[in-house]
């Protein structure tokens, strides 16, 4: 529904295509941008152009990269036999912060969401399969989100990968540290019970 004249409506339409931005937010952001000084507006537009010109996706793992391959893929100290599959590049940042993982990654650039029309072909799944043998991958860790889309994706991938003779693991789901048990939902608590482990005494 075009309410505003030419350029303003174009801007609202473009903003409305961004994730999580509905028509009302798009309108609000557009009017905020209209009020910006010319310098501020140019800085924003330059940042967008810059990132498009200088940053692309790693040809191997689809992480964001400033060259053909990302810093992690180029790092020869990383263990090539373990691959951690994530939905988005930002998930790599989260896993890296734990300091617990020294293998490489594969970014699917999304998660299966059949009701929204997102199927296997829209994700980097064929690229994942193509990497396994040449890179000598022995274990794939499915590190997709612990929500419905992420779990659907993990189930789909494990069905695809297990027959290939790989070790396929899924990150454990459990209770958030620092929370109270009584607030945990039944699904989370049930899974946490299943994933219980023996108490270390040392």
């Amino acid at each position: 529904m075009a309410v505003y004249a030419g350029p303003v409506q174009d801007l609202i339409d473009e903003l409305g295509k961004l994730p999580g931005i509905g028509p009302k937010s798009a309108q609000r952001i557009a009017f905020h941008l209209l009020k910006l000084s010319r310098d501020d507006a140019l800085r924003l537009s330059r940042a967008i152009v810059e990132v498009k010109d200088r940053v692309a996706f790693c040809a191997r793992c689809f992480n964001i990269a400033e060259g053909a391959e990302c810093a992690i893929c180029l790092d020869t100290r990383r263990n090539p036999s373990v691959l951690c599959v994530v939905e988005e590049s930002r998930d790599i940042v989260a896993v890296e912060k734990t300091g617990q993982f020294s293998g490489r990654y594969h970014v699917l650039q999304g998660a299966l969401n059949p009701i929204e029309g997102i199927g296997p072909d829209q994700l980097r799944i064929s690229e994942l399969l193509a990497r396994l043998e040449p890179e000598g991958v022995q274990e794939v860790i499915l590190c997709t989100n612990p929500n419905l889309e992420g779990e659907t994706t993990a189930m789909y991938l494990s069905r695809l990968l297990k027959p290939l003779g790989l070790k396929v693991t899924r990150i454990a789901s459990g209770l958030p540290v620092g929370g109270d048990l009584e607030y945990a939902d039944e699904l989370t608590l049930g899974r946490a019970l299943e994933g219980r482990r023996e108490v270390d005494l040392d």
Partner: protein, 235 residues
Amino acid sequence: MALYRDEGIVLRTWRLGEADRIVVIMTRGRGKVRAVAKGVRKTKSKFGARLEPTSHVALQFYEGRELDIVTQAETIDHFRSIRDDLDRLAKATAMFEAVDHVAPDREANAKLFAMLLGALRALAAADSPLVVPAFFLKVLALEGYRPVLDECVLCGTATDLVAFDADTGGTLCRSCRRGGPISAEALGLLRRILGGQLGAALNEPPSAATHEVDQLATRALEHHLERRLRSVHII
């Protein structure tokens, strides 16, 4: 603007902003409700997995103009055997998509809610090939488009029914035939599903006939909705 309580089944969700989701819920008392679940994407959200699709939950909402706000959610059944199985999850998703398209916002439809809950319970108990087609056919019947199955839609003869056409509204005889062919086995299953023997039909093992019924029910519902059901065709 007021608080209200209802129970419902979560059909689908969308991300909203930084940490929220819009949750689409088929409720028992108010039909399909769209509500915002604030902070639900944070690891420490009080909602946890309760507002994910397949969850049957008791809810408290704050009524808003377009979107309500979920203020409390307690699990009645999280249907774990569906969530943990890709095939069952795909089936449940197809039913959720159908309900989302059939049910208008905020229009009570206790019958549709009860049918969906019944179908989920059947699916949780056993991965039957006829759960989804049976549900689609029952939805069509509920909407007033129950297909004719015991005579030819055009000439009324009860013998030699060899075709089925969603557009015309049911079975057709050899001389009036249009749409697609239908086998005697598939026709038998359709009659059982809509003729009060659903429980027995759900025990059918997968076969060519159950596959035929599946395809036919999907086509019939898609024809009625005038759109493709994405989740049926994607995985």
